[in-house]
């Protein structure tokens, strides 16, 4: 394993100067990947990786990516909840990387939910 060098962190800090990140508190969209035992076994980590990749590519700073536990629908995993401000939260089920990419492009970036992958629209929020 290569060691994380302090120089690497300094370099990142330099390159980030001037960019304002809003990751603490205020955000436009929150993506929650359900990561209970069921979610993990069904491939939730891959979904997390896909969103992280898309997030970096897009450069969006107003999107929060996080995880939570089992939501009680283990046979529909991998599952995510997308909460956009001012609109109803959407739970997406039976995901794979391709579906996750489409959800990111359509729902997260353009604000248009993808009903064909959704379980239901409108349920609990965490804010």
């Amino acid at each position: 394993m290569a060691k994380l060098r302090v120089e690497d962190l300094k370099k990142i800090k330099e390159s980030m100067k001037g960019t304002v990140t809003l990751r603490d508190g205020s955000y436009r969209v929150k993506i929650t990947v359900h990561m209970g035992t069921c979610g993990i076994a069904a491939g939730a980590r891959k979904i997390m990786n896909t969103f992280l990749e898309k997030l970096q590519q897009s450069g969006a700073t107003d999107v929060i990516l996080t995880s939570s536990g089992c939501a009680g629908l283990c046979n529909r995993e991998p599952m995510i909840t997308v909460e956009a401000r001012e609109s109803a939260p959407v739970k997406y089920i039976n995901l794979d990387s391709e579906k996750a990419k489409k959800i990111f492009d359509e729902h997260i970036m353009k604000g248009t939910p993808v009903p064909e992958y959704a379980l239901a629209m409108g349920s609990e929020t965490t804010y």
Binding site: I12, M16, R23, M35, R45, T66, S67
Partner: protein, 189 residues
């Protein structure tokens, strides 16, 4: 669970759910003794004797969203299948330690898998919890400590930033090449 890194993700998620502020993940491989040990230690709320006895029971869980808890029992099964042992120690207020051992050469031992993705997922889900990851391969030891990383970051950058997380992931990539045969087999690949 297809590899050990997914088991580790699952157990470490339990630790954060138990209110841990620090989770230490240690992987130790001693090829000469044909032994691989994984330890996940947290400083969460811990368990009393009664709960500890039930912890390995797949039909026991503290969660309310479903009625079975499979995480620990799945890891226990993985150790049994690979000539290893499983231990869990815990005390109320003093955290929990899960220790799983494996026979390195055992044909049914799961590959280590992608520890980088496991750490990144843990950090994303729990940015306020600290993680110490130690990988010891036949005496060659390296450590990743999120407290050290956070200390280097200023107010405008958080550890959840994709750039930082990718750096962490890349650092751990090397682990996959070390004696752990991995087919990269994760679902939805």
């Amino acid at each position: 669970m297809e590899d050990l890194s997914l088991h580790i993700l699952d157990i470490a998620e339990n630790a954060t759910a138990a209110g841990a502020r620090l989770v230490e993940i240690t992987i130790d491989q001693d090829t000469a003794r044909d032994r691989l040990e994984v330890v996940i230690r947290d400083n969460g709320r811990g368990m009393d004797r009664e709960m500890l006895e039930k912890a390995g029971d797949p039909f026991f869980t503290t969660r309310t969203t479903r009625r079975v808890g499979l995480g620990l029992s799945l890891l226990q099964q993985a150790t049994r299948e690979a000539g290893g042992e499983f231990f869990i120690r815990s005390k109320p207020g003093q955290g929990t330690e899960v220790r799983a051992t494996f026979q390195v050469s055992h044909i049914d031992r799961k590959p280590l898998g992608d520890m980088g993705s496991t750490l990144v997922s843990l950090i994303l889900g729990n940015p306020d919890v600290d993680f110490v990851y130690t990988f010891n391969f036949d005496g060659e030891q390296t450590t990743l400590d999120t407290r050290m990383i956070k200390a280097e970051l200023d107010d405008t950058t958080t550890i959840s930033d994709p750039t930082i997380l990718n750096l962490i992931k890349n650092i751990c990539e090397g682990d996959r090449d070390k004696g752990f045969a991995t087919d990269g087999g994760e679902k939805n690949g």
